[in-house]
């Protein structure tokens, strides 16, 4: 028998089928229902905004990787996710140049500066939005009514609650027939995509559970104490970007703790910050800041939630 050339490497000799592009594309698939809902509600605005954000995200990634003489990984899906998620948390009528600028910053400042995929501290899409929020606050708080292509400014449900003490119906909130960021209005569409991610075990259920659970618990307590001053828990759950944030932003792997206990801490922390911001701060919405703040302390959480090694003595 002829001697063949055999490959020699260390164990294990088989690998699971799941790799990074597969995970990324699963997230993109999960975002499709949200994209469809956003096109349904905001028509051409949605298509344009998503296209601009995705193209800018990929372009920026490409430029930075060329400048840093790294492998070009534009098609691993992570840039597409950042672009798409950022589009979903922008007001539908945001001028396209502003969206493009925000996406550039999201990728450049939120991701590439830290060393690219896997090294960033903050969720890039949220960082992009935070940048736009600080740069063009007026544009970022100009909302459009669903189904209209004209810019008819209308306050978001959360702003209406905060500044005018009026509430939108639960049903509108669930279906998404309210003004708000492109992809955050329809809880239904987000839940469809999120359940796909949870079934495929792409995201850890602990973060959304901790996040939403804390929000429900705290808002129930406040609502019970003062039903007039605070919204009911279901309303809190459905209004604003909470559901989108809890399923697509907070569980972002790169920027969240690695241990199960840590992820509980992360989710609960997000919930606490959100309720504090929504109830007592000058801002109507707090999803973005709650997640960014918890991102910032993720290394700390990791440090304090090291698991006890099997059989380790106390």
């Amino acid at each position: 028998m002829k001697e063949e050339h055999f490959l020699v490497s260390t164990s294990p000799h088989i690998r699971s089928a799941e790799d990074i592009p597969k995970i990324m594309y699963a997230v993109i698939i999960a975002l499709i229902p949200v994209a469809i809902a956003s096109i349904y509600f905001f028509r051409l605005w949605a298509i344009k905004l998503m296209a601009v954000c995705i193209i800018t995200a990929m372009g920026t990634e490409d430029i930075f990787q060329r400048l840093r003489k790294k492998d070009i990984t534009v098609f691993d899906g992570s840039a597409i996710i950042t672009g798409l998620l950022l589009a979903f948390i922008l007001p539908p009528s945001l001028p396209l140049w502003a969206a493009s600028l925000g996406t550039f910053f999201a990728i450049a400042l939120g991701k590439q500066i830290f060393g690219g995929l896997g090294y960033n501290i903050f969720n890039p899409a949220l960082l992009g939005r935070a940048f736009l929020m600080a740069t063009f606050p007026v544009l970022m708080t100009t909302w459009t009514k669903p189904f209209s292509l004209d810019v008819v400014t209308s306050a978001t449900p959360l702003a209406q609650m905060k500044f005018a003490q009026s509430f939108v119906s639960h049903q509108s909130l669930f279906l998404g027939n309210v003004s708000g960021s492109l992809g955050e209005t329809s809880a239904l569409a987000i839940l469809i995509g999120a359940s796909f991610l949870l079934i495929r075990k792409i995201i850890d259920w602990r973060i959304p559970a901790g996040y939403l659970g804390t929000v429900v618990l705290l808002s129930s307590i406040f609502w019970f104490i003062d039903p007039k001053g605070f919204a009911d828990p279901l309303w809190h759950l459905l209004a604003g970007g909470l559901i989108l944030g809890a399923f697509f932003m907070a569980p972002d792997m790169v920027t969240t703790p690695v241990t199960k206990r840590g992820r509980w801490v992360f989710g609960i922390g997000c919930g606490l910050i959100l309720i504090v911001i929504r109830s007592w701060s000058g801002l109507p919405e707090g999803v973005m800041y709650s997640i960014l703040l918890m991102n910032a302390i993720t290394p700390l959480i990791n440090r304090f939630t090291h698991p006890r090694i099997f059989g380790e003595q106390k």
Partner: protein, 439 residues
């Protein structure tokens, strides 16, 4: 009843393609190469010289020191050389080559003992030691050492390990079906030697027929239990097995002894029974030749020292272009660069992967998905061991418990970024050992 298991682990595809294939006897090989180091511990010292005629079962290597094992010839014939030969676990090492005379004459020391049940534990230990029996699950730790716990240790339980959690491998599975009686006999001998009262056999749920056969065999035996375990890798790892069956945790850096348990592989139990009853030293074992790279996968009973190529020829040769030859399982086995390596006591199987099953993927940056953390049965943080390992921060690795790693490979299997975590951790363990020694 709840299915018992442990925390962590992975679910690789089972691929037990040979599970329904009865064990076949491999024809007597023309030549065997018997390495003097087939076990954990010090290599044996050769007791024969080139040109000697030997008979099957004759001792040709003598154990050196407490943790070592005797070596016996597996065929009868003439010794043609004692020199370095490729070894499946590492660099070439000293091995005895024997040309067969085709007669398979047994050495006079191999004889039945009809009064075996009257033996004193120490006599049994002596037989096991003399027969050169080591753990057949892969680690090849000398069995007589395990059967001789220190005086101050209280052992109350024996667990037979029939999990065979590695994908592809089916040799233990077949043994449990075909040699049920002998295995239980072996278990009784072990229990008697250790003077323990409770015995368990842990078998993964995917081997229903084996569980049934074993349950049948132990009917009316009060102190034995067959435990059906969740099919999950690494269910057959000692620490995880003990956790699953007894809910006891072996302390970090400790042994099963520390929680009063001795774990033996089912194959080892069979070998003990053979040695005690029939006086047969450990000269043959059952291995699984499997994978998509082989024409006719099979479970084979082979003599120690049989070369891989003989077995592959017997199984019809390669199917397609072979990519990787692995001794052992897909997750913990050792890749071979040549087919000129012999079967040793710890060989559980030969796995042939085709070229297209073997694709080396460039490691990508860690995205901190923490799948490795969730799958680690020892609760380490493999991703940080990898990160610090790459930066050669060995002391950080030590702080994170690198030495506790059992190298089960769950983390590297599951890693979507294809980071060679096991390799990095192995390296870290070596470096830590090196600087500890220096101190």
């Amino acid at each position: 009843m709840r299915i018992r298991s442990f925390r962590g682990g992975v679910h690789p595809p089972e691929e037990k393609i040979t599970s329904q294939k009865p064990i076949q006897e491999l024809p007597l090989p023309k030549k065997v190469v018997i390495p003097l180091s087939q076990h954990t511990g010090v290599p044996a010292r050769p007791t024969v010289k080139v040109g000697d005629r030997v008979k099957t079962g004759q001792r040709i290597g003598e154990a050196q020191g407490p943790i070592s094992s005797n070596i016996h010839t597996s065929i009868s014939g003439k010794i043609t050389s004692i020199e370095n030969h490729p070894h499946p676990l590492g660099p070439p090492s000293l091995a005895i080559t024997i040309e067969s005379d085709g007669r398979d004459e047994h050495h006079p020391s191999v004889k039945h003992n009809n009064d075996y049940f009257k033996l004193h534990p120490n006599e049994i230990r002596e037989i096991v030691r003399g027969a050169g029996i080591v753990g057949l699950g892969g680690a090849a730790f000398p069995t007589h050492v395990k059967l001789s716990p220190p005086e101050d240790r209280w052992i109350d339980t024996v667990i037979l390990n029939g999990c065979e959690c590695e994908p592809y491998l089916t040799c233990d599975h077949r043994l449990m079906i075909e040699k049920t009686y002998e295995i239980i006999e072996g278990l009784k001998i072990i229990a008697k030697t250790l003077e323990v009262t409770s015995c368990y056999v842990g078998i993964e749920k995917n081997k229903e027929d084996a569980i049934k056969a074993m349950r049948e065999e132990i009917r009316n035996k009060a102190n034995m239990e067959i435990v059906s375990l969740k099919t999950k890798y690494p269910q057959g790892s000692e620490k995880q097995l003990i956790e699953a069956i007894l809910n006891r945790k072996v302390p970090s850096g400790g042994l099963p002894l520390d929680v009063g348990v001795v774990v033996q592989n089912v194959g080892t139990a069979l070998a003990i029974s053979e040695a005690v009853k029939k006086g047969r030293p450990l000269i043959e074992r059952v291995i699984t030749v499997t994978g998509r790279g082989i024409k006719n996968p099979a479970n084979l009973r082979v003599r120690m020292g049989t070369l891989f190529k003989d077995m592959i020829d017997y199984c019809g040769g390669f199917a397609g272009k072979p990519g990787k030859i692995i001794m052992g399982g897909a997750l913990m086995g050792f890749a071979q660069h040549t087919l000129d390596v012999p079967v040793i006591k710890g060989t559980t199987g030969i796995l042939l992967l085709t070229e297209d099953e073997v694709n080396i993927e460039e490691p990508q940056p860690c995205i901190k998905c923490a799948r490795c953390v969730d799958s680690c049965p020892i609760y380490l943080l493999p991703l940080y061991l990898g990160i610090y390992g790459e930066k050669e921060l060995w002391r950080k690795c030590e702080e994170l418990g690198a030495l506790d790693c059992t190298e089960c490979g769950c983390c590297a299997y599951i890693c979507p970024a294809r980071i060679p975590l096991v390799q990095l951790i192995k390296l870290a363990k070596q470096e830590i050992a090196a600087y500890r020694k220096k101190k």
